[in-house]
Structure formats: C-alpha cells, structure tokens
Symmetry: C2
Subunit: 181 residues, 2 copies
DNA sequence: CAACCCATGTAAAAAGTTACATGATTAA
DNA sequence: TTAATCATGTAACTTTTTACATGGGTTG
C-alpha cells in the first residue's frame, strides 16, 4: 500500500492536519495520488498507532490535529522507497465504452470525449500555472527543484498526451457524423 | 463499477469461458483494464444471477463454461455506456518516491526508473506488433477498425509518453551522479 | 442569521488482492 | 510419468467508496 507513504512524504514537507492533507490530495498532489478525507483520517490514526507520526501541539484551533513525522516513520518511508516494485494500474472506463462502440456500432460517445478533453485541458492549465509560478525563472535550479519539476512534467505530459488523443478520436467520430448526415 | 461491463463487451465480441477472459485481461485488454481470475469468476456468477449472461452449451470439455450475453446484458451495457461520468484514477507510487527523493535528498531511484522505462518499451513493442498485425495494411479501414485502432493508439501514446518521460528524468539523475562523482 | 468553509470522524458496502484448493488434459 | 497448461472455484483480508454525522468559526 502506498497511501501511508504518500502521507509521510507530505508530512515531511510540512506538518499538517488531516484536513490540510485532504485538500492537497484534491489539488496539487491529486494528479498522482487520490484519497478521500475518510481514508486519510483512518490512515493517520493507524500511523500514529504504529509510531510513525505524532500529534503536534495544535496551533490555536482546539479541534485541529497537526501531525509530524517521527524517526520510525522516516525510516519506514526510506525502506519503502528503496523497496520499489509496484506497477501502476491503468483502468479507464472510457476505453471500455469505445470498445463497446466498436463492437455494437456508433454509441454517441463524442460528448463524453469532449468532456474528457475539457478535463485534460483544465488540468493542463492548472499544471502550467504551477510550472510558471514555481519554475518560471529558468534553469538556475537546484536538485530539489529539478526533481520536483520532473514530477510536474509527468502531469504535464500526461494531460497533453491525453488531450491530443481525445482530439484524434473526436476527428474520427465527427468525421463519420458528417458523412452520416 | 466497470468490470461487468468490460466482461459484457468481451463476451459480445465472442462467447468465452472465465479462463479465456482472464487471459485476455492479462494481455491485449490488460492495458486499459486488469482483473484477476478470481474477480472474473465471481463477477460472471453475479452476472448470470442477474440474467445478463447464460452458460452456453459447452463445447467438448465438460468443465469449461462458455458464457454468452443475453438481451438484458446488452441493454445494461448500452445503459452504462450512455451514462458515462467516471474519471479514471491515476495512482503512481514511483511519483511518490520521486517526491520523497526531492524532499529527503538523493534516494538512488535511477534503477527504478530504468525498470519503468524497460516496462514501457516492452509494452510499446507488444502494442506495435498488434498494430502491424491488425492495422498494418493502411487506411482502407471501416468504422470498427478505425475505433479499435483509436483504442490501441491510447496504449501506444501512453507507453511512448511514459518512456520519454523516464528518459528525461534519467538524464537529470545520471547528470547529478556524474557531477557527484 | 444563513451560508460556507474548517475539521474530524463512524459505518457499511463495494471492489480488489492474496492465499488456498482441486482436478482434467496435453505434450515432452 | 511428470510437468505445464487448462479450468474453476472458496475464503480471508485489504483497500476504496459512499453515505451518514457532528459541530465550531467566519463573513456577508
């Protein structure tokens, strides 16, 4: 499982509450890992049990629990990073739908592809904004910045590639719509 | 859930046993959906219960159960295709590892990136072989072939893009290895 | 004072993974 | 005759999703 390690990484960057982490998993981190707040709260509780994190002296708000990584958590993260091995799973229902379309005949998927394209473009714009803000100045960058930039590039590439594919498929579907009209 | 609909699509193409389906999910179909044989057998049993498929007169082998789609299954598939809506989840542990590397300092990830690159290249070669075999002759293709080709293109693009990204990241990591030596 | 964001959880259901289990057929 | 592949399943466990639940603080 990778969620606890994603959380450890985030907490090493900056001690945070479950709520803060949930928001980060919704936005910037969301493109390579997603998790609901329920998952995050449960996992934080487990990690505290395991002695990987502790609740810091909360700042101001009585309900807010700010977690920080303990040495055991750091060790566990390093162990997991070195272990490697998992291959990410790809699962795209839209491709199943396209396959059904190929077998059963035209199933009117152009709108769904347009939605997907808009999705890619929206995220691409968001990532480009982050790129401009955080890496805009150029290449006087240190190692940390270069690696972080590489992570962002994975997202940029993914969205650009996905958008371009959507356009190609739409060209096929729109073409036949014209021919059929 | 999309697994039953992936199965319905496969069964519409050709009535098959759970074992056949499991093999297809391991190979050609594997790039956009994966499922273990346990999942598949359980799901086929549910689908039979629901009246979406039935066991065909088995051919020869007494143990083999060949499933075929019933009208209710076809209707369910069409309903699900039209419904749309899900956004595929992206979850890549390697990006979490890279993030840990950015925060904690060099964590020796070059080998893992080389493994990932080899993985992309291996799958790319497999998809290109399928492309040559099934779509090699050119563009005198009918609609079904064009849509099927579009599905394969999603895989080709994904692997090419992933491989290219790996090479970029390796350039960064190898660069600093040389500088550090 | 209403609406919205902050903040944390519980419970149940669905989906996916891992381990275990069995037996037939086929090719070397 | 032994090993590989065909063929189907059960059971236990883990992970993820969805629905439900509560209450404080802030701003218009």
């Amino acid at each position: 499982m990778s969620l606890p390690h994603a959380l450890l990484t985030s907490l090493l960057e900056r001690p945070s509450s479950g709520y803060d982490l949930a928001r980060r998993f919704d936005s910037s981190m969301g493109f390579f890992w997603r998790a609901s707040h329920q998952q995050i709260y449960r996992e934080l509780a487990r990690m505290e049990q395991a002695g990987w994190v502790r609740v810091d002296g909360d700042s101001g708000n009585a309900r807010k629990k700010v977690y920080a990584v303990l040495p055991a958590g750091r060790a566990e993260l390093l162990r997991w990073v070195a272990a490697g091995g998992e291959v990410p799973v790809v699962r795209d229902p839209l491709l199943i739908r396209l396959r059904a379309d190929a077998i059963l005949g035209p199933l009117d998927l152009a709108d769904q592809l347009r939605d997907r394209l808009a999705d890619h473009e929206r995220r691409l714009a968001a990532y480009e904004a982050i790129a401009d803000r955080d890496f805009g100045d150029g290449d006087g960058a240190d190692r940390t910045a270069r690696v972080r930039r590489a992570i962002l590039d994975a997202g940029l590439r993914f969205e650009r590639n996905g958008a371009q594919w959507c356009r190609e498929v739409l060209a096929i579907l729109d073409d036949e719509a014209r021919a059929g009209a």
